[in-house]
Symmetry: C2
Subunit: 384 residues, 2 copies
């Protein structure tokens, strides 16, 4: 096992009718700004539950955060927050809203030239407004980690950043909030969760059997529960199990003591930035291709994955690995998520810009830091 | 899945040569009191590593915390800590030392009549000195939770208490510190860990497949790794895997959204208080008997346990349950831990005091709160 440092102080309040606990969680001595997305929370009753719970607070609000939240939109929220003297931010929505809330929390007290400098790592995040979350879409795990991903329209960039200042103080997870989501978003959430687990699991063997089993626990549960989204759309337990899987997949417990490979996200972010693909749909294209490209380097863990997660019994490692990747692809496709660039009419020549961007990066990605521009080109070719 | 509230802000620093990170973790502006046990840390080099890391700090120390730490000893530490003006406590040892450190941390600033009142719940814990931990014995999970158990010699009591004020700020887990432990303590640690998992797993089904698999992940890893303690005594990876299992078993992630049954610990504490049995050895007697007594009520989860953890293939539920309990007992015995009261020459009539104590309790125990004095008598009879 590798040495590690783990810290995660996010309080999770999980279950039915938990939004009314907001008043016990949000500090009363500061003006609160509620941040949300395109307005679905006004149609499904979540907005009303939140505002009812916050009656008595000084509350302002900023709606209109888009999927893959944009710097330009966030900066409008920053201006509003400063104007209102916001002292606490409450993100109400999915990962995009929460990622935006984290950026806004760091940007409001930021005294430098441009908060974007924090995103691209030019200056460190030295503080942030305290924030909390009411989650409505299980997927990104942002509700229990320090991560945020912000996109910039003018430069077609999608950039991850993080800081221990960006932990939510709490996240309320009421699985019932997901009942109003379209199947497309639910399926995206399952795939995002699945890929998060794989990125902390399918690397190389360091003798960490507990962590491997904890990863398999989530994958097996996703495979078991996801089909029920369509077959049992009113089943609360299915929503609850998938929501808890998403949070557990990226609170970094799985990453304790093992190598991690975030290359799928790195390449996926570029596909989203350039072609507008849903985040999870980009991942569903990249992961199988990356596993094929790296199948020898990742052989030990891919064989384990095939046997433990998919129950494969083929004799040879090669056969298990091939079948495991096929099973993965078939699982994504079964949820209505395509796994090929050609499914989106994206040609190899369109990907040249992505390869060029990896050429510009100061560091390679992957658990061995050996995925640079030529390797990205090869992976995208396999995803054709 | 049941509703839940999860919060665990303990920073874990895990791995080889991590004790030297103490200076980054312990605040520099307060006198530090180091709390430890019978002196084994002076023989195995841990004391020296700690003191070297703390050079430059104002450091006092209190040694002599015993297994099943005694209120009387702890109060001597409280007096010393007050006298020295301790502002931060560092527990260096196993669960007993850490449990004691938690009590001492709450007792030093306590302004009431007697800190024991906090233990028995007469007054709440309203604050505590900040504390940290260097763990040397994987077992109790105390390094990543708010629990403490304190014994009182004069009244032969062993009482658990807890408070969110008692989270360690950090715990350093260097698996190499366990190399000098006797096999008896290592085996005890495995059994304590195993029982902690069972108490959050073997209850009734609430549709929580992820949590079940997370519990099984730890049990399977214990069963796989524990035999290597004897066969590969110099294997660091074995120590690391068992240490991480112990922490993960009782940081309450497993308890999220599921019922819990702490009856084994409740009864086991009394066996230790009255007869001086090692904590884990008391649990190894109680758990199999409790599972036999409750085999109908716990049938769903016992069958799952038998099939998933022990790979049992018997046709009937009854056969799987019987075999699963036998396997559990055999596993404990294989580690040199007896599982019968008679192995310690304890007679049924000796247990009358335990039953009387459950008669006095204000509440029954178990996941259905249906284990009172008569049920305890029946369970102890099955453990004869």
């Amino acid at each position: 096992m590798l040495n590690f440092n783990y810290y995660n102080p996010v309080r999770i309040v999980f279950g039915r009718d938990t939004i009314n606990q907001l008043a016990e969680l949000v500090p009363t001595n500061k003006p609160v700004m509620v941040v949300y997305g395109g307005g679905s929370i006004k149609r499904n009753g979540v907005y009303e539950q939140v505002m009812t719970a916050l009656s008595g607070y000084r509350v302002s609000e900023f709606g209109g955060i888009e999927p893959n939240p944009r710097y330009e939109t966030c900066m409008q929220a920053v201006a509003k927050g400063r104007q209102e003297g916001a002292g606490f931010l409450l993100g109400v929505g999915g990962g995009s809203v929460l990622d935006a809330t984290k950026f806004i929390a760091a940007a409001i007290p930021f005294e430098g030239h441009d908060p974007w400098d924090m995103v691209v790592g030019k200056v460190p995040v030295t503080g942030a407004l305290p924030l909390g979350c009411v989650l409505t879409l299980p997927a990104t795990g942002s509700e229990m980690n320090i991560n945020s991903v912000i996109s910039r329209t003018s430069t077609k960039q999608k950039v991850p950043f993080k800081s221990e200042h960006l932990f939510p103080q709490f996240s309320i997870l009421d699985p019932a909030t997901s009942f109003s989501l379209p199947m497309r978003q639910l399926a995206n959430g399952v795939v995002d969760t699945f890929v998060h687990v794989c990125e902390q699991y399918l690397t190389y063997e360091v003798n960490a059997p507990l962590q491997h089993r904890q990863a398999e626990a989530i994958l097996l549960t996703l495979i078991e529960e996801a089909p029920k989204l369509q077959n049992e759309p009113d089943n609360y337990e299915v929503r609850a199990n998938l929501m808890w899987c998403a949070t557990q997949a990226l609170n970094y417990n799985l990453a304790c003591g093992v190598p991690t490979d975030w290359a799928t996200h790195a390449i996926g972010h570029e596909l989203t930035a350039l072609f507008g693909l849903d985040h999870a749909r980009a991942l569903a294209i990249v992961l199988p291709a990356l596993l094929r490209y790296k199948c020898r380097q990742k052989a030990d863990m891919l064989v384990r994955y095939g046997r433990e997660v998919w129950g494969l019994t083929a004799q040879t490692s090669e056969a298990v690995i091939d079948q495991a990747i096929e099973k993965t692809t078939a699982f994504f496709e079964s949820l209505g998520i395509p796994t090929r660039l050609s499914d989106y009419q994206i040609q190899q020549q369109d990907c040249k810009e992505i390869v060029d961007r990896f050429e510009q990066r100061p560091a390679k990605v992957g658990e061995h830091q050996d995925i640079g521009a030529p390797e990205v080109a090869a992976i995208l070719a396999l995803a054709e």
